[in-house]
């Protein structure tokens, strides 16, 4: 239930057309719609872009049951497309392209996180779209930007993480990089920068009446999140190496084992005052131990100190340790796992981060909430469910575009729109195409991954 008028959010009255899948583009769409924009996610029944569906990683479905419409029950998709409206369109057909162009006339934004040339391939590139709506804000966000030798390189978060220097810093300092994890952050960095880009262009348009093309490089946007590393290299002449959980100026710092299975507490002692308080908590005799008397000494004898701290934490509850240390002003945080721990976290719950969402195909679940809280809406956020495939076809074609029933029926007949993937449709995920298809036309299937 909405307790405030939804037409008074920061982006109320803005309509955006989203063409994207997986993380970076979809989460940008989430943020826009969280802030009140009407985001129309354009999909198709020819090619399903909803993450791994087949073979089913069972846990991806409510109660491990893919159901009759697995594409509407996919966990990944349903968590990263909240608040949007869903439209299917086959952009390869005249009818589909025409509907897209009609939507462009009444939209403010088009954004796409597929490879740079995909929209051009549909003859719906910026130059074309601008002819229909000169004020449109149009953003392409391929991995490395729209110019330069890598402009057509396919990429994913993994690639951006590696090429920007972030992967080099990850992992355990005493092991080599082959143990690096596969969870990659750059998609998220791209999503927030894409949102900033679009809102900046909206403000510019509000002031000048001008629309524009935005050239977004996922790699370049993520590198602003590591800027000090490049300055450090220029000043010191030495590239930064891996640090693990340690810090060059804070000691001790690390993740320490707690009571129970795979429970940990993160602790950072950032100055001498905190160190003395820390000693009060875990053992006063440490205060006088010359090995730990200064930051420099604590850094030098960090391994010894870690052993002492672990001996104290190992039989204690992670939250108890956290509260004990925080009460003394020492930065500490329980290492929460992504599932049960965050769901149980009293603070996230107090802020109503999880919201009960009723999804027409997936059922009723507490989903992770939007994070942008405005005083004008009393900090309350809206979480409408992610759209099922083609859920809003009628609303969009009939109410927004004023298409006749006959025309909509024709579009359905010609398979331009629909709510069920066509027989033999590309279902996406890890079995996007059969191996046979892949063998025959591998180039064709590799043109769509800037996720």
């Amino acid at each position: 239930m909405n307790l405030y008028p939804t037409d008074d959010l920061p982006l109320s009255g803005i309509r955006a057309l989203e063409l994207s899948e997986i993380w970076a583009g979809p989460y940008c769409g989430c943020l826009l719609s969280d802030m009140g924009a009407e985001v129309i996610k354009i999909e198709s029944i020819q090619r399903i872009a909803r993450g791994p569906i087949n073979p089913p990683p069972d846990g991806m479905y409510p109660e491990r049951d893919p159901g009759e419409r697995p594409w509407d029950r996919q966990a990944n998709f349903n968590s990263t497309n909240r608040n949007k409206k869903g439209l299917t369109l086959d952009l390869k057909t005249n009818l589909g392209a025409e509907a897209f162009k009609d939507l462009v006339k009444v939209s403010d934004i088009v954004f796409c996180n597929y490879a740079r040339t995909v929209m051009e391939g549909f003859n719906l590139g910026y130059e074309e779209v601008k002819k229909i709506n000169p004020d449109i804000i149009y953003m392409l966000m391929p991995g490395y930007g729209n110019t330069g030798p890598y402009k057509d390189y396919r990429s994913m978060g993994m690639a951006i993480d590696a090429i920007t220097g972030h992967s080099y810093l990850r992992g355990y300092p005493d092991m080599d990089h082959t143990n690096n994890s596969l969870v990659h952050h750059p998609d998220a960095a791209a999503a927030v920068n894409a949102t900033l880009a679009l809102s900046t262009a909206l403000v510019h348009r509000e002031l000048t009446g001008e629309g524009q093309f935005i050239d977004m490089s996922q790699a370049e946007s993520f590198m602003t999140h590591m800027g000090e590393m490049f300055v450090e290299y220029q000043i010191s002449g030495a590239p930064r190496e891996r640090r693990g959980n340690r810090h060059p100026a804070y000691a001790p710092q690390g993740a320490y084992k707690c009571e129970g299975e795979d429970n940990w507490i993160a602790i950072s002692v950032t100055n001498d005052d905190q160190w003395f308080s820390f000693c009060e908590v875990i053992g006063k005799s440490l205060k006088k131990d010359p090995r730990f008397s200064t930051v420099a000494n604590r850094l030098k004898n960090h391994d010894d100190l870690d052993a002492i701290i672990t001996a104290w934490t190992v039989a204690r509850d992670k939250y108890t340790v956290m509260y004990k240390l925080q009460n003394k002003g020492i930065p500490a945080g329980a290492v929460l796992n992504c599932g049960p721990d965050t769901y149980a976290d009293p603070h996230l719950n107090d802020r109503e981060f999880f919201q009960i969402v009723e999804h027409p195909e997936a059922g009723i679940f507490p989903m992770s909430g939007p994070v942008l809280r405005f005083e004008s809406t009393h900090g309350i956020t809206i979480h409408n469910p992610s759209p099922t495939l083609g859920q809003h076809n009628n609303y969009i074609l009939e109410e927004i575009l004023g298409y006749s029933k006959e025309k909509i029926n024709l579009m359905e007949e010609k398979e331009v729109i629909g709510i069920i993937p066509l027989p033999g449709a590309d279902l996406g995920g890890s079995r996007r195409a059969s191996e046979e298809q892949a063998r025959q036309s591998n180039a064709k299937f590799n043109n769509d991954e800037n996720v």
Binding site: R170, A201, D215, L372
Partner: protein, 406 residues
């Protein structure tokens, strides 16, 4: 180079932590005039240094990065006169960014309620580790401790070892960036409806609501699936051609690969010159390639051993296999794509000399640019700003300076 899209807006940057400071810097990259208010002794991040003795200016690399383009005004907020000056600065600004503990602004006499009365159009952006409400709102934090509480760290690393953080200060940068996006969106509402707003940005929440967190948390709530630390080669949702998943050593460093699914197999076989393997009954479907992965991995590895990252990067692009070289910071700065796009931006710092800083996160085609200025010296713009915005004269400034209020 900064774009002049938002150049009619003044940002008052009171932040003393990375996230808020980066938010303000980013707004400056798109034209805002950013006035950084520091204590007379300087912002703590000037000294927050990964390498305390490394900077000729005495300022940390972090400070250079997150304050480029700003103006610096010193002001003692503990003195009544300092607070009076702040009051005027707030009234003449469009955006206020702060990272104090919840309640601290109020304790100085600046609760949002009264600020919004004197300057109803103001957008105040508060970026704190846990937000303005809730039982943990007063917790102190570092990148490590707040990252730990977001759900992102527990799965990072190997199952038999401790959880490990990412490489960069991602939680703080990410939330600061998100704060900037929300702030500019609030500007649109201001222009359309004349209304200001107050944003409550929690770093924990930003990271817990990060697309990867929500995506990976959903299987837990849908079906109880846990997301624990795994061996990278075997960590896959669905079939991912496990013999080529993750990071591999090659002739001159490391390459990361993430081939998504069976359709990649012919591409990989062709890339490594082993199309014969396609018809080998040991490897002719995804399940067999998974059970025989060690054998395939050895073949793949031997192909990598003789090749440099550059050679492999060209080969993967040619073959349509997702792969990318792991670059070190100095190599990133020499990368031809970033050079060709003039990404790194040269500034000339009066004490440090020329430094290259990271450039624009995105490029606007319809907006003019202006040169990026280096991070300010402490109090460099005190006189300029206080004369222009507060109307102080030289005598008043001298008096304030003598009493160490500026």
């Amino acid at each position: 180079m900064p774009y002049k899209a938002l150049d009619q807006f003044i940002v008052l940057d009171l932040s003393n932590r990375l996230s808020g400071s980066f938010c303000a810097k980013t707004l400056g990259l798109y034209g805002c005039e950013v006035i950084k208010v520091e204590p007379v002794t300087g912002d703590l991040t000037r000294k927050w240094s990964s390498d305390p003795n490394s900077s000729g200016s005495g300022d940390s690399p972090l400070f250079h990065h997150i304050n480029a383009g700003k103006k610096s005004v010193t002001l003692d907020l503990n003195s009544p006169e300092g607070r009076d000056i702040l009051d005027i600065l707030i009234q003449k600004s469009n955006i206020l960014i702060e990272t104090f503990q919840p309640g601290e602004m109020e304790s100085w006499g600046f609760p949002y309620k009264s600020i919004s009365r004197t300057n109803p159009g103001l957008i105040m952006t508060s970026v704190t580790p846990y937000g303005q409400t809730g039982p943990h709102k007063e917790f102190d934090y570092t990148e490590l401790t707040v990252f730990a509480m977001s759900g992102a760290m527990h799965r990072e690393g190997l199952p038999d070892r401790y959880p490990i953080r990412y490489g960069a200060e991602v939680a703080q940068y990410y939330s600061g960036n998100l704060a900037a996006a929300a702030t500019v969106s609030a500007l649109l509402r201001l222009l359309r409806k004349g209304k200001g707003d107050w944003l409550d940005i929690s770093i924990q929440e930003c990271m817990a609501g990060h697309p990867h967190q929500i995506g990976r948390r959903a299987p837990f709530i849908y079906s109880g699936e846990l997301d624990l630390r795994e061996q990278p080669r075997l960590s896959s949702s669905g079939t991912r051609e496990p013999y080529a998943v993750g990071t591999f050593q090659c002739k001159d460093g490391y390459m990361s690969f993430l081939p998504l699914g069976a359709r990649m197999w012919p591409n990989i076989a062709r890339m490594i010159g082993r199309e014969d393997l396609l018809s080998n009954p040991l490897f002719d479907d995804a399940d067999k390639r998974t059970s025989n992965r060690l054998e395939l991995e050895a073949i793949f590895q031997s192909w990598l051993n003789d090749r440099t990252r550059q050679e492999i990067f060209e080969a993967v692009q040619e073959a349509g296999v997702p792969g990318s070289p792991i670059l070190r910071s100095d190599e990133v700065m020499q990368n031809k794509q970033f050079l060709e796009r003039n990404y790194f931006t040269l500034v000339d710092h009066p004490q440090q000399g020329p430094i290259k800083l990271t450039g624009d996160p995105f490029r606007l085609s319809a907006v003019d640019e202006k040169p990026l200025k280096p991070a300010p010296l402490l109090g460099e713009h005190t006189d300029q700003v206080l004369k222009k915005m507060v109307g102080l004269d030289d005598n008043q400034l001298t008096s304030l300076r003598e009493r160490e209020i500026v």
